[in-house]
């Protein structure tokens, strides 16, 4: 039921504002900690816990309002995904704030007074608190139903979920509507967090643990649908609880497999509706003119990259290799999300499978390093053929979540297949051949591989294939009307992106000498997303720029402060506010005047 509270809030927010709110889990965590402190501080005896829950939820709802008005509202005009970047920055900030205020030790909150026991049902003891939550779920659902179906505000929300532009045309004040929805959604996240206190430990990682699960529930239920969220929360809750008992090895992915199946069968979730074709432009990326990078600048850059590294201290050569790998990785994602308008939350699959493809060849076939490196993009591309086949038939957030599901499935396989992949202890000793082992030499290999990859991606973007993809992005129906097979093109783009993502992964694995399931995990999918957005989603050059900027920031900040998340988060917020369309996006707009 806790899952329902958090998911219904997330669903409402996305349904109306289209904000992919990564910070929803952070609000949940914050409320849990607030309730923990308040329950101990309030002098109300047994009632203090319940008052604390209410206060924590309200406080987080208020915080949501502040965030919406103070930050998100400033970037509504930018492509929608920039709000995602903001919420990602908030995740970092909240995480360190919690650590600063409450410390990093695990905490055990109070039990709920009066509900600490258990009752015997069908021979099993069931905790009364769980029963109370089960009862509370439908109550909250009913309250939401009343709000959405019996008040004018609710009518507006439902209308905005279906067709936001039409609501705006009818003269409804969108800003107030968005603020209200965001506050309500945050309040629900806060309620979920506060109610979790008697059941679970408070940790500084509870945000990450809940957020993907919440997204799964939202998508399975259907975006913007509260009854859907309720149904999905029950389904996922049952699977979480009992599925692992039946299929223990699949426990990592069971929910994702279910989500994948649901999305393949019902692309809009269980109770969602097909999205209306947007009027202005397709998907999340509005059609913007790419910023051309002048040829002379590219020439200078290439010259610098060729000449300077031998003069640099060794560590910076290594950092450059990492930047090159991520530049290519981000650029391959750009082909999907910038050119193709398909935002992937699972691009780590390409990176990680490429890395594992190379590493497994070295480990089991004793393949020479260059052969293994060449195998990396092939492995990833083959996987992309399969994954893409299912994914390209979906659109927007459903596409994103299905890619995430496949990435998680790949993660689980790698994590559990000890005999082949080494499981969570990974594969070690994947080093470059001796003649390439010196950092500068390996750098030149990486430069050649990633440079070629970037050049190829640039060429693809300008080729008829790239232009066709753009047409499909900006208006899928019109593209179809002129005889373009949209899905086939998108599928091909998915495979190409997988290929180059895999090459990036292969380059990375020989830099680090080892590979672990983490290379397929969610953060690796989020990083290139952040990079592309930071650099500017409208231009391929934004991806390498964003990669370089993000990696350098991260390297420098982590080095100088224990609270790198706080510093990095604040810098990201500032960057988004100053460059609401990414750095190249804003520079390009200025250039054009």
């Amino acid at each position: 039921m806790v899952l329902f509270f958090i998911a219904s809030g997330l669903s409402l927010i996305f349904g109306v504002t289209r904000v992919v709110n990564f910070a929803h889990g952070s609000f949940y965590m914050l409320a849990a900690y607030l309730a923990y402190t308040l329950a101990a501080a309030l002098p109300l005896g047994g009632a203090s816990f319940y008052v604390a829950v209410a206060l924590a939820a309200l406080a987080v709802g208020a915080l949501g309002t502040v965030v919406e008005v103070g930050l998100l509202r400033r970037v509504y005009r930018a492509p929608e995904l920039y709000q995602l970047l903001l919420t990602f920055a908030l995740v970092l900030v909240v995480s360190d704030v919690v650590k600063l205020v409450w410390g990093s030790e695990n905490k055990t909150g109070p039990s709920a007074p009066g509900l600490g026991g258990a009752v015997r049902i069908a021979g099993q003891l069931v905790p009364t608190y769980d029963l109370a939550l089960i009862a509370l779920g439908p109550c909250v659902a009913a309250a939401l139903w009343w709000l959405l179906y019996r008040t004018r505000w609710g009518v507006l929300i439902r209308a905005a979920t279906l067709d936001r532009e039409m609501v705006a045309l009818l003269g409804v004040d969108q800003a107030r509507l968005f603020t209200g929805v965001f506050a309500l959604g945050s309040l629900l996240a806060g309620l979920a967090g506060a109610l979790q206190v008697p059941r679970q430990a408070l940790t500084t990682v509870m945000d990450a643990a809940i957020i993907t699960e919440a997204f799964v529930v939202v998508v399975v239920g259907g975006m913007g649908s509260v009854p859907g969220a309720l149904l999905a929360a029950v389904v996922i809750g049952v699977i979480d609880a009992f599925g692992v008992l039946v299929l223990p090895r699949a426990s990592l992915v069971l929910t994702f497999v279910v989500m994948a199946v649901v999305l393949v069968v019902r692309p809009w979730g269980l109770l969602g509706r097909p999205e209306a074709q947007a009027r202005s432009a397709g998907g999340a990326i509005t059609a913007g003119r790419g910023v051309g990078v002048p040829r002379w600048l590219i020439a200078v850059l290439v010259a610098v990259l060729l000449v300077v590294p031998p003069l640099l201290p060794t560590f910076y050569v290594w950092v450059l290799v990492e930047i090159l790998a991520f530049a290519l990785f981000a650029a391959s994602l750009h082909l999907l999300m910038g050119t193709g308008g398909m935002v992937s939350f699972g691009h780590a699959a390409a990176f990680g499978l490429g890395a594992y493809g190379a590493a497994l060849l070295v480990r089991w076939a004793k393949a020479p390093m260059l052969v293994a490196l060449a195998a990396a993009p092939v492995t990833a591309a083959l996987a992309a053929v399969v994954i893409g086949f299912f994914c390209v038939r979906l659109s927007s957030i459903y596409f994103a979540m299905l890619t995430l599901a496949f990435a998680q499935i790949a993660y689980a396989i790698v994590h559990q297949w000890y005999d082949v992949t080494g499981g969570d202890n990974g594969l070690l000793g994947i080093w470059p051949a001796p003649w390439l082992a010196s950092p500068v030499r390996y750098y030149y290999l990486a430069l050649a591989a990633c440079g070629a990859g970037l050049a190829a991606l640039a060429a693809i973007g300008r080729a008829p294939f790239g232009l066709t993809l753009r047409a499909a992005r900006d208006h899928a129906r019109r593209a179809e009307a002129v005889g373009i097979d949209v899905h086939a093109h998108q599928w091909r783009a998915f495979v190409v992106a997988g290929f180059f993502g895999g090459l990036a992964g292969g380059t990375f694995v020989f830099l680090k000498g080892s590979v672990f399931p983490e290379s397929l995990a969610v953060p690796v999918s989020v990083e290139p997303l952040v990079m592309v957005l930071l650099g500017g989603v409208h231009s391929l050059a934004g991806a390498p720029l964003g990669a370089a900027l993000y990696k350098l920031l991260d390297t420098v900040v982590t080095r100088y402060t224990e609270y790198w998340q706080l510093v990095l988060g604040v810098i990201l917020v500032a960057l988004v506010l100053v460059f609401p369309r990414g750095i190249l996006g804003v520079l390009g707009a200025r250039e054009r005047g």
Binding site: N106, T108, A118, P127, E213, V244, K512, S514
Partner: protein, 403 residues
Amino acid sequence: MSARRAVAALAAAVTLVAAAPCAAQAPIRIGEINSFSGIGAPFTGPYRQAIEMAVEEVNARGGVLGRKVEVLFRDDKGQPAEAVKHAQELVASEKVSLISGTFLSNVGLAVSDWAKQNRTLFVAAEPLTEAITWAKGHDHVFRVRPNTYEQGRMLAEKAGKLKYVKWATIGPNYEYGKRAWETFRDRLKELKPDVQVVGEHWPTLGKLEAGPFVTAILNQNPDALYVSLFGSDWIAFVREAKKRGLFDKTFVVGILLGEPEYIDPLGLEAPEGMLVTGYPWYDIGAPPHKDFVARFTKKYDKNPVLGSLVGYVTYLSIFEAIRKAGSTDTDKLVAAFRGLRVETPIGPISYRASDGQSTMGAWVGTTKLDARRGVGIMVNHEYVPGEKVLPSDDDVKKLRSGN
């Protein structure tokens, strides 16, 4: 971390910077990589504090080899690739003499492999996987804490003397959980051949939905349960298990669960009567240890946890190795670590020449509530030194032959 501690850390940093020019020679630099954010944080925070204390103390006495010691801390964020990046940076740019730390086993293995490739000394403080010193062991890695195998064996030696026949287990679904169980089970079966296993449960690390697991375990009706959960999973499990009466019916053996990191957050909800490995800092009478506790408590205004002890012992070992080597040259340090004997607050330990594993042991005891402090403690505990449970040098050779 509280604001006060942040200020203290800042003050310490300022002092370090201010003191640096006064040193006659360039300081000895040591790179410390650990999971200071994320799931390792409850352990690594106090770990870091103890290191800072050890460094402060040694510098107050004039440093090592007449040189000040300086530690550069880096957060690996729980990511192996991130840890390798820090290792590259610390060695190439900061010119550290050696690398220490790591919490998660896979991060430890990644850094260890990097150290092997780059001929850098790596002192693994906390990762518990056996592979670090055995299957993936090499000349340049040493490990401080007793590994999963040792702790599993310690518990099995005790559990083998008990009457329980039907056993079940629950642990996180990764290498640590599996090996913690396998080493325990194998030794238990040697000691007590009639032992039966009635259930094995492997929930996802950090995402335990405890209720159904407790019910499933109750339905299997074991005499005893072996638990390798920890952190937030363990807390969630305790809450659900208490409500459903599991602890009344089933004897519980818990690896690591007597460590203050894991038992303190439970407060008075900690289950009594469990057989655990842990660290009863409140009850170790040796004067050097009492002194260590007093200094730590005075400096940080809180109790030490096992992470503090491990951090302190790790750095005492590093200082001792540098003294023995008479230099910070890697080859000499590696040679010095082989068979190195170190006086620690819990008595002398040594680093085995065969595999680089230290002989630091662990305490095995039974849990009980301490109403005065409002937390669970260990009673009837016994310190089991590493020598008692580690395999012989010949067996180690076999374990390491795969490399």
